[in-house]
Symmetry: C2
Subunit: 168 residues, 2 copies
């Protein structure tokens, strides 16, 4: 037995998007319980030239749908990056999950050697599907979920490693 490209990608993305929803839900509850303006958390960042929480969530969404779309050779939905509240960010994650769940294994399986391309700010990158998934898409997914977690932890939200790993 081996691992299919679908198994390695879509369930991993949806699992961590669901975990992101739970983390954001705890952030919102903390803000409410402590009577802190939620925008303090939404606009918080770990360094002046790092992205704030809202953008980190949007990138988790974009990485998940963009990478999955490239692997499936379809067009991803386009979302406008207008979220400014916890409920809106949670909704962004949930609609990303809903779209990922429309993808079928047969659209993605067999794409290990297929080339995917994407634009960065300065260039167009091309990689084969499998290294793209393991060297770019998954590292990005986990990075940005980790940053959301770290921004909230840095601001005193009571989260633990189990919230990042989810129920095993």
């Amino acid at each position: 037995m081996t691992i299919s490209m679908y198994q390695a990608s879509i369930p991993t993305f949806t699992r961590h998007l669901n975990i992101l929803v739970d983390i954001l839900t705890k952030g919102a509850a903390h803000a409410e319980a402590k009577k802190i303006d939620p925008t303090v958390f939404i606009n918080s960042r770990l360094a002046p030239d790092m992205f704030a929480l809202a953008k980190q969530v949007q990138i988790v969404s974009d990485t998940s749908k963009g990478a999955s779309a490239r692997l499936a050779q379809v067009e991803p939905p386009s979302y406008e990056d207008t979220e400014t509240t916890f409920p809106q960010l949670i909704e962004r994650a949930k609609k990303t999950i809903a779209w990922l769940e429309t993808l079928k294994p047969e659209q993605i399986d067999g794409g290990e050697e297929r080339e995917v391309s994407w634009k960065t700010r300065t260039a167009t990158k091309t990689m084969k599907g499998q290294p793209y998934l393991f060297q770019h898409a998954l590292p990005n997914l986990f990075f940005h979920v980790s940053m959301v977690y770290a921004i909230l932890r840095h601001n005193g939200v009571e989260l633990g490693k189990g919230d990042y790993l989810g129920k095993l």
Copy 2:
């Protein structure tokens, strides 16, 4: 074509351990250039109850060798967690890589359905190899590399996302 367990695990661990070496090397260079005591970075953490940089590096090492050993059904080497300097932490990452490179694909391939067990502070967990890799080992790997990156960025070290993703 599909993905083998070996391909999904060992090269992913070694790639990000090498990236960790590069990130730590930049941290050390920054401390030297700015004449900042390197222990300021080594002992820095993002929240009072999160681990400092040194421990984050040790956990990247432990996650990589522990998960790989479980998947290969061998004993991992035991390291003492005595590192307190950038060169020592870099050495820790490098010796972890060297050990990972001794593992052969045939020790790990076929282990998707094999059960792995590990102890947490409070319980013994058991999972099959494939979900263990995608739901526990890889998320942990990327989390702790991300925390090292974030701690250094939070302290002003000039790093960019490309340093975390590595050369693609």
